[in-house]
């Protein structure tokens, strides 16, 4: 088992989250440990995994008379993810997302795994759910949308 070495389809990404109403999130160190990350295996049935990773953040400044201004990377936060899922009102994981949004302070470890069918790469982070709403547009299934805000500096990469 190793890091996938192919270009992956977007469909290959799966979102997992810890189960339980009051989970104990992984430590920052464990977020980069495959054995810890892969043990989180409850699937959140989302339509698509949105862009994940780190935001861009820079401090820009210029000095009068200087030839060029400068942009210096700052402590860039992990990207917040607004996620859409087909809404099944009794889906266990979606109910957890709804409860997390209601609570607002529950830290939970989320894992995004992508695979080429054999090997896995994982991005794990601790985050809080900050939004939960349902869109019942009549042309398709009802959607529920929620936003996960990762905690600063609490993410890691690992692979099988």
């Amino acid at each position: 088992m190793a890091l996938p070495n192919k270009v992956l389809p977007g469909f290959s990404a799966t979102l997992y989250a810890q189960d339980g109403a009051t989970p104990t999130p992984l430590s920052v160190g464990d977020l980069s440990v495959w054995a810890s990350v892969s043990a989180i295996n409850d699937v959140v049935p989302v339509e698509a995994v949105p862009a994940f990773g780190q935001d861009d953040a820079v401090a820009s400044f210029g000095v009068a008379g200087s030839r060029q201004s400068d942009k210096i990377p700052t402590q860039a936060a992990p990207t917040s993810m607004t996620i859409t899922a087909a809404w099944d009102p009794s889906d266990t994981m979606l109910l957890l997302m709804r409860d997390d949004a209601y609570n607002g302070t529950i830290d939970r470890t989320f894992v995004i795994q992508a695979t080429d069918g054999t090997d896995y790469v994982a991005y794990a982070f601790n985050g809080r759910v900050g939004e939960f709403k349902v869109d019942p547009s009549p042309s398709a299934e009802a959607k529920c949308m929620f936003t996960v805000h990762p905690r600063g500096n609490q993410y890691g990469w690992s692979n099988s």
């Binding site: 469909f11 979102l15 698509a48 087909a86």
Partner: protein, 139 residues
């Protein structure tokens, strides 16, 4: 999570639902010229069965199905055709609930019928009316 629905059940339910609406006009699953000896009859064809699939390794991560079945009304008299088409529209358009009767039925959130067009086939001497019905199936 949504499992893949059974298209065979769709077919049985469509046959049962159309039969109950149009009775005593016979309903068939597809057109056969031998039926053209009958003064009026209905055929249907199912298409566009598709539940959108969503990301990840779980096969049941799907949305709802919105299949379409075409309803074709054939009659020797034009007024009969419009009358049957109207009966179907009144019964089916906007319908919510059990679709296909107690034996084969399942619940649908909505049926949406479009009256496409009417015409006449000189070879078989029948007026025809074509309608599309989309059904929205929770799954």
């Amino acid at each position: 999570m949504a499992n893949q629905n059974d298209v065979n059940q769709y077919a049985q339910a469509i046959q049962a639902q159309l039969s109950s609406i149009a009775t005593p006009v016979p309903v068939y699953a597809s057109f056969n010229r031998n039926f053209a000896t009958e003064p009026k009859f209905i055929t249907w064809q199912l298409r566009d069965v598709h539940q959108p699939v969503y990301t990840g390794v779980v096969q049941s991560n799907k949305g709802i199905d919105t299949p379409v079945f075409q309803i074709s009304v054939f009659t020797q008299g034009m007024a009969d055709g419009f009358d049957i088409a109207n009966t179907i529209l009144q019964a089916l358009h906007g319908y919510n609930g059990l679709f296909g009767g107690v034996t084969y039925g399942f619940n649908i959130s909505k049926a949406d019928v479009v009256f496409l067009y009417n015409g006449y086939d000189n070879d078989i001497g029948l007026h025809n009316i074509f309608m599309d019905c989309t059904i929205y199936i929770p799954s």
